[in-house]
């Protein structure tokens, strides 16, 4: 009993009870009136106060705590046994101490008065306790307010008890008899309110059945003992006639209530299991709803799962075996160390197959030869699959230390719960995926935005040069990049590049690459030197698995000359006189090799331009575009289309290429960015210029063709 808060002894009502007990004792000891009626009335009033105060303080005591109905019934049983002994063995106890006490009950001695008083005090205590306990049971499981029924019954109890005092003649006895009968009827009605037994488990119902039959018998015996004309009856009458009736009424009420309880429980036994299952489902639903709220956090979720597993299966420890890559690791360990669970995991995985486990299975840990290594001696083990989409994602494990093996009930509990847990874990995964997907999409939006801003808004305009550029981003930003640098009125620099990797990181590198070429093009003209410098910078800034392929070119309009350097990028295609030539000077991708090595292998070609020369720059998004059979679009097909359309204006050529790529990869999603830049040399015809160009051309031609042949 909680001594500081709910102590019944400290309560105000209980003090009043003690005071009234004292007054009653004093009254019984010292006041003896010749007037039997007045004496009786005063005595009864004092008694009434005593019982009332005790009743109220006990009610308060009961309401303050949650009491299991079964333990309450057990208490009533014990008390009914006490009452039985008090009543049944009264005369033998009395005769032990006071030989002549029964000789003259109307004129008792001092000691026997005290003895009688204590005796009745006990009876008062016990019966009041029984009444309050029955009241508590009456209100158990009642949803609506039913005070009126119980209170009316109590009132009739009192009326029946007190009216006996005034029943001096037989003619008037009908009054108290009527009250008595009404009380009994009310008892019957109130005894029907025992719906709470429906919520007991089958086990509890069977216990209740046995207890109620014993208690019923005890109360029937007690009630008949107090009502009969025997020696105890005389003692009662000498103490208080009304109290005798009151006690009888309570005992009868108890007898009726418990017999009712017995029969109802008896009829409930066959359906008990169904009720059990329903109740189990209800509590599972509660657990399930608890799981739902935690799907946001996988760790928290799995910890709750193991926590609830312990509760539903009365296990000592629980954890989940989770498959990470190709390893089986224990997670969400509850009440067990990591090392222990890992040891037991090995045993489990020896005994059951990961994918083959379809239902909750029990294992005897006594068969585990390495059990001695585990710090606690677990005896029984239950393992249940956690499935998602029909695949086993994890195993839920529960272990017990004591000898009692897991039974069928535990199996059901674990199985049901692991089903719920599977759903929750699956949901958690799906949620995580969708959050991740959303995050990726946001990230890709940013990447695409960066790419859009980096790429030139429009093509530069130069006399003698037709320029067309097309860029089609892939869903995952592919890292393609191209730019033009208007160095002077007669010089145009251009670059096409492809950053390795995808997404936001590629987009950021793209931005860096743009900055590098933008600034280098202002101070250096030679494509070779620009690429060398760019490699130097990118070698420093890129991580060791990222690189950039690029082609940098410079067109000198005045001289009709183009210089090109290539760093690991797709070759440049030159369409001249119905022939497509692949211009592929040597060069390693940017950020791959150290400065000297890069320099050593980097070439620059000079192309003397002829009228209608068409220069095609592209990224592998075109040549590696795939159809549904995963065939590449390929350089051959690409060149064919270019040649077919070589006499068109550049925008038309671009259009045809993109059309062809789109048609080709119609049934396959675009995996990489597609970039296509086409330049066509349409020099303004001036005699001077043509002559100059003719002169320079002869040496240059050889140079780039050689380079192209080398590789």
């Amino acid at each position: 009993m909680n001594s500081n808060r709910n102590n019944i002894i400290d309560s105000f009502q209980f003090r009043l009870f003690l005071i009234s007990v004292g007054v009653l004792l004093v009254f019984k000891l010292f006041v003896s009136s010749s007037d039997q009626l007045v004496y009786g009335i005063i005595s009864d009033i004092l008694l009434l106060f005593t019982i009332t105060f005790l009743f109220i303080s006990l009610v308060g005591f009961f309401e303050e705590r949650k009491i299991n109905p079964l333990s309450l019934i057990m208490n009533i049983g014990i008390i009914s046994a006490f009452i039985f002994f008090l009543i049944f063995f009264y005369s033998s106890i009395i005769s032990l101490f006071f030989e002549n006490v029964n000789d003259d009950p109307s004129n008792p001695g001092f000691l026997s008065t005290i003895f009688t008083f204590v005796y009745f005090l006990l009876i008062i205590g016990f019966t009041t306790y029984v009444l309050v306990a029955l009241r508590h049971l009456f209100f158990l499981g009642q949803s609506t307010n039913k005070h009126i029924y119980f209170n009316t019954m109590i009132v009739f109890f009192l009326l029946a008890s007190l009216s006996i005092r005034f029943t001096t003649s037989d003619e008037l006895s009908f009054i108290s008899t009527t009250f008595f009968i009404v009380s009994t009827l009310l008892m019957l009605i109130n005894s029907l309110r025992i719906s709470w037994i429906a919520f007991l488990t089958k086990k509890e119902k069977i216990t209740l059945l046995f207890m109620s039959v014993v208690i019923t018998v005890l109360f029937i015996v007690n009630a008949s003992n107090t009502g009969n004309d025997n020696s105890i009856n005389l003692i009662f009458l000498s103490f208080s006639k009304s109290f005798n009736v009151f006690v009888s009424l309570i005992l009868i009420y108890s007898a009726i209530y418990f017999s009712m309880l017995f029969f109802t429980t008896l009829f409930h036994i066959p359906t008990a299991e169904v009720f059990d299952r329903k109740a189990q489902e209800v509590s599972s639903l509660q657990y399930f709803s608890k799981l739902i709220t935690q799907v946001l956090d996988f760790d928290e979720l799995t910890e709750t799962v193991t926590d609830i597993t312990i509760k539903v299966s009365n296990a000592d420890a629980s954890w989940i075996i989770w498959k990470e890559h190709n390893d089986f690791v224990p997670i969400a360990n509850n009440n067990i160390g990591f090392v222990d669970s890992e040891l037991i995991n090995k045993f489990i995985l020896r005994k059951v197959s990961w994918d083959g486990l379809s239902e909750t299975t029990f294992l005897k840990l006594t068969e585990f030869d390495e059990l001695v290594k585990v710090s606690k001696l677990y005896k029984a083990l239950a393992v249940s699959p956690l499935k998602a989409h029909g695949k086993v994602k994890g195993l839920l494990v529960a272990v017990r230390k004591d000898e009692t093996r897991f039974n069928e009930e535990d199996r059901n509990a674990i199985a049901t719960f692991s089903d719920y847990a599977s759903v929750a874990i699956e949901n958690s995964g799906l949620l995580e995926e969708s959050i991740e997907k959303e995050r990726l999409e946001k990230e890709l939006d940013v990447a695409r935005e960066i790419q859009k801003k980096i790429l030139p808004e429009k093509n530069p305009v130069y006399d003698g040069l037709e320029i067309s550029s097309v860029f089609i981003p892939a869903f995952e930003v592919g890292g393609d990049f191209y730019d033009f640098f208007e160095i002077s009125k007669t010089k145009l620099g251009f670059v096409i590049a492809d950053v390795s990797g995808k997404g936001i990181s590629a987009a950021f590198i793209m931005a860096e690459v743009k900055g590098i070429f933008e600034s280098l093009s202002k101070i250096i003209e030679s494509p070779k030197e620009i690429l060398m410098k760019a490699n130097e910078i990118l070698n420093r800034t890129l991580d060791n698995k990222t690189f950039v392929s690029a082609v940098y070119g410079l067109i000198d309009i005045e001289r009709g000359q183009m210089k090109i350097s290539r760093a690991g990028h797709c070759p440049v295609i030159l369409l001249r006189n119905d022939i497509a030539q692949s211009v592929k000077p040597s060069g390693i991708g940017l950020g791959i090799s150290e400065v000297d090595h890069f320099k050593e292998h980097l070439d620059e070609v000079i192309i003397e331009l002829e009228e209608n020369d068409t220069i095609v720059l592209y990224t592998d998004g075109i040549t590696e575009a795939k159809n549904e059979n995963l065939d590449d679009f390929g350089e051959k097909y690409f060149t064919e289309i270019l040649l077919e359309n070589r006499n068109n204006i550049v925008d038309e050529i671009s259009k045809k290429v993109i059309q062809a790529v789109t048609m080709f990869s119609y049934n396959h999603s675009q995996y990489d960015d597609i970039t296509l830049v086409i330049l066509k040399w349409k020099p303004l015809q001036s005699e001077e210029g043509r002559r100059d160009r003719q002169k320079i051309k002869t040496d240059g031609d050889k140079k780039w063709q050689n380079s192209a042949h080398q590789l």
Binding site: G568, I588, I592, S593, H601, L711
Partner: protein, 122 residues
């Protein structure tokens, strides 16, 4: 995209990694794990067989770049074998043949390892 898998065979003190399927940004970590494991075991003589590799993306190429320095610093090397034309073309464009030794067969690569026990970095 499609599946990617690797398998490792030891030929003397040379480890041969066989690649199969599609090596791209999504599957690259598998190959990275292989390299990390071999390096952890102090196995620096590595041959990568491309016979069953259908496709390699730029991220896949990056894997080779990421480990080459460490491996060469430990007197090892990554040698590449059995490339089909398409895959070779991708390596070739980027200038990888200037950085890695590429052989037709595993045997040639293993022999090369045995001839010069310890190929220095370029």
């Amino acid at each position: 995209m499609a599946e990617f898998s690797t398998s490792i065979i030891n030929k003397g003190d040379v480890s041969v990694i066989n690649l199969s399927g599609y090596l791209d940004a999504h599957t690259a970590p598998t190959l990275e794990d292989n390299f990390t494991d071999l390096i952890d075991q102090n196995k620096f003589k590595i041959v990568v067989n491309f016979n069953d590799l259908a496709y390699i993306s730029s991220a896949g190429l990056g894997v080779f770049m990421a480990y080459i320095e460490k491996i060469r610093n430990n007197n090892g090397d990554i040698k590449l074998t059995n490339m089909n034309d398409k895959v070779f073309n991708i390596f070739d464009l980027l200038g990888f043949p200037l950085l890695y030794e590429i052989f037709k067969t595993d045997e040639e690569a293993v022999t090369k390892f045995n001839e010069s026990s310890g190929v220095g970095s370029k």
